[in-house]
């Protein structure tokens, strides 16, 4: 097995309420992301999968308190890094795509301007050159008429188009080693979901990216992801290759999840 790009080890933590009581939400979470492939983290709402992903970039909610754990990336523990160094990693080495891209883009700047700003942040250069790169990036994620689209504002984009722009920003303009995708297809039409997943798979294959896909939907996992980590109630219950998960799920929860996604996905009744 190759050396993992990122390893989460023994991550535990709790939410602190305003009154000071602690509600534990993560229990000894650990998994590894292999380079060059997509790893899915699957679980239902509240399983702690998004919280884990946000912790990688240090952008977890402020009332989350970690009690133990390490996140190793390129040999360094991200959780132990000073603020300046973790900032240098954000975007440049690890970037992130969020759910609901229309809200995740700034409403008062054009989409092109936002991509260009990020480009200048990481690669420098003139504003005009950065805008050219931004338009190129939009073209690469198959947004039609990228020159015109770049001049539009997020509210003028459809959800699917905005998510493409968001992916262009996080995966192309930033040019990171690892891109974390937090429920990137939730809330989109089914056909658009498929197209977005296809785009993600394509980018990973073509550019040698490593991706971590957070999702509650096993259905989107099967065709694109190499490995799957299943989380439930703040714990990792199973981690294996996608093939292993789909053919020989060991944990009862994984089996239930699988059964549910099969029921949901098939128009015809599944033969017993």
């Amino acid at each position: 097995m190759t050396v993992p790009l990122l390893e989460v080890e023994g991550l535990s933590g709790a939410f602190r309420s305003p009154g000071g009581e602690m509600t534990p939400v993560l229990f000894d979470v650990g998994f590894a992301l292999q380079p060059g492939v997509i790893t899915a983290i699957v679980g239902e709402t509240g399983s702690g999968k998004s919280l884990t992903a946000l912790s990688i970039l240090g952008i977890q909610p402020p009332n989350f308190q970690r009690s133990s754990g390490r996140i190793l990336f390129e040999g360094r523990d991200l959780l132990a890094l000073p603020a300046e160094e973790i900032r240098a990693i954000r975007g440049r080495r690890i970037s992130m795509v969020f759910q609901d891209a229309r809200a995740a883009l700034n409403p008062v700047f054009t989409v092109g301007r936002q991509l260009a700003d990020v480009h200048r942040l990481h690669h420098g250069g003139s504003a005009a050159a950065a805008m050219c790169r931004a338009i190129e990036a939009l073209r690469s994620v198959a947004i039609p008429e990228p020159e015109r689209r770049a001049r539009q504002y997020p509210h003028e984009f459809s959800g699917g188009m905005a998510q493409r722009a968001m992916i262009a920003m996080a995966a192309l303009v930033c040019a990171p080693r690892l891109v974390i995708l937090d429920e990137p297809t939730t809330g989109l039409d089914v056909t658009i979901q498929a197209a977005i997943m296809e785009l993600i798979a394509e980018l990973v294959a073509e550019r040698g990216l490593t991706a971590c896909l957070i999702t509650h939907d096993l259905g989107v996992v099967a065709e694109t992801c190499a490995n799957v980590v299943v989380m439930q109630s703040g714990r990792v219950v199973e981690a294996a290759s996608t093939e292993a998960i789909f053919t020989r799920p060991r944990h009862a929860y994984t089996q239930r999840l699988l059964a549910a996604s099969l029921l949901e996905d098939s128009a015809e009744p599944v033969p017993a």
Partner: protein, 273 residues
């Protein structure tokens, strides 16, 4: 972040207002000196043991007048916002629930009145109707009504077609029952929060009118009146006559603002994180 119902700002606000209310009641039966009679001491005595806040130009005791003034300033604010709240919500609920020409008439009226600079309009009407407690209360509540109408209208309109309103209609409630018994109570929070902030504004305008001599009759120990009486003294170094009533206004107005903030924190779901 969820807030406890009794946040600090609410406790402080309510606490201060309770003190003011207590002082207002106390002043009805006892003040150190007679607040209305001049010459209980010499003119412009600096704060001392006998006159803790000094005396004014006419030799009245500033502390006694300050205490006696509480009933005017607090009372006017409370009664004026209550009237404005009642009338404004009534009109607002009617406009918001029934819509149509009634709504247009009410809303347009509100817009017209809001184009008047609030304080100025109060001054104009106060001048026209003349001084007096009742007049001032009516003027101040009148000035506040448009804001309540807007708020109540927006609240009711946004809920008019919600399922529970439909349900209330289906089971045979009359329309006014749906509007006032089922929709209006859901807006109590925002309305009360605004009322508290409006009370702060009303206190300031009361003092402003008093300062201009448009409020109560000149010898009334209303705080704005008192500041006006001390205005000349400020120029010659007798600062205490104007200074202390300002602090009294600060305390009361600040308490209303704190209370209003606490109430809107409680009721505004967007701020309740």
């Amino acid at each position: 972040m969820k807030r406890a119902p009794f946040s600090w700002s609410m406790r402080i606000g309510l606490g201060i207002l309770a003190v003011y209310a207590a002082v207002a009641l106390l002043a009805l039966v006892w003040t150190p000196h007679d607040p209305l009679s001049p010459g209980v001491g010499d003119s412009y005595l600096a704060p001392s043991a006998e006159f803790p806040l000094g005396t004014d130009r006419l030799g009245s005791d500033v502390l006694s007048r300050l205490m006696a003034g509480t009933q005017y300033n607090l009372g006017i604010a409370l009664v004026a916002v209550s009237i404005a709240l009642a009338v404004g919500s009534l009109l607002g609920v009617i406009a918001g629930y029934y819509g149509g020409p009634l709504d247009i008439a009410i809303s347009r009226g509100v817009e017209v009145f809001q184009a008047f600079p609030g304080v100025l309009f109060a001054m104009l009407v106060a001048k026209a109707v003349g001084p007096g407690v009742i007049n001032i209360i009516l003027v101040l509540s009148f000035v506040g009504i448009p804001d309540y109408v807007r708020l109540a209208r927006a609240e009711v309109q946004s809920r008019r077609n919600w399922p529970y309103a439909e349900a209330a209609r289906m089971v045979g409630n009359r329309s006014w029952q749906v509007a006032f018994r089922h929709l209006l109570p859901n807006s109590t929070g925002p309305l009360l929060a605004f009322t508290s902030i409006n009370a702060a504004f009303v206190s300031l305008v009361t003092a402003s009118l008093g300062f201009l001599g448009l409020g109560l009759s000149p010898n009334t120990p209303e705080w704005g009146n008192m500041i006006a009486r001390g205005q000349d003294g400020v120029m010659t170094g007798e600062w205490w006559v104007s200074f202390f009533p300002g602090l009294a206004i600060l305390g009361m107005t600040g308490a209303f603002y704190l209370l209003g903030d606490a109430l809107s924190d409680l009721t505004d779901p967007r701020r309740r994180r």
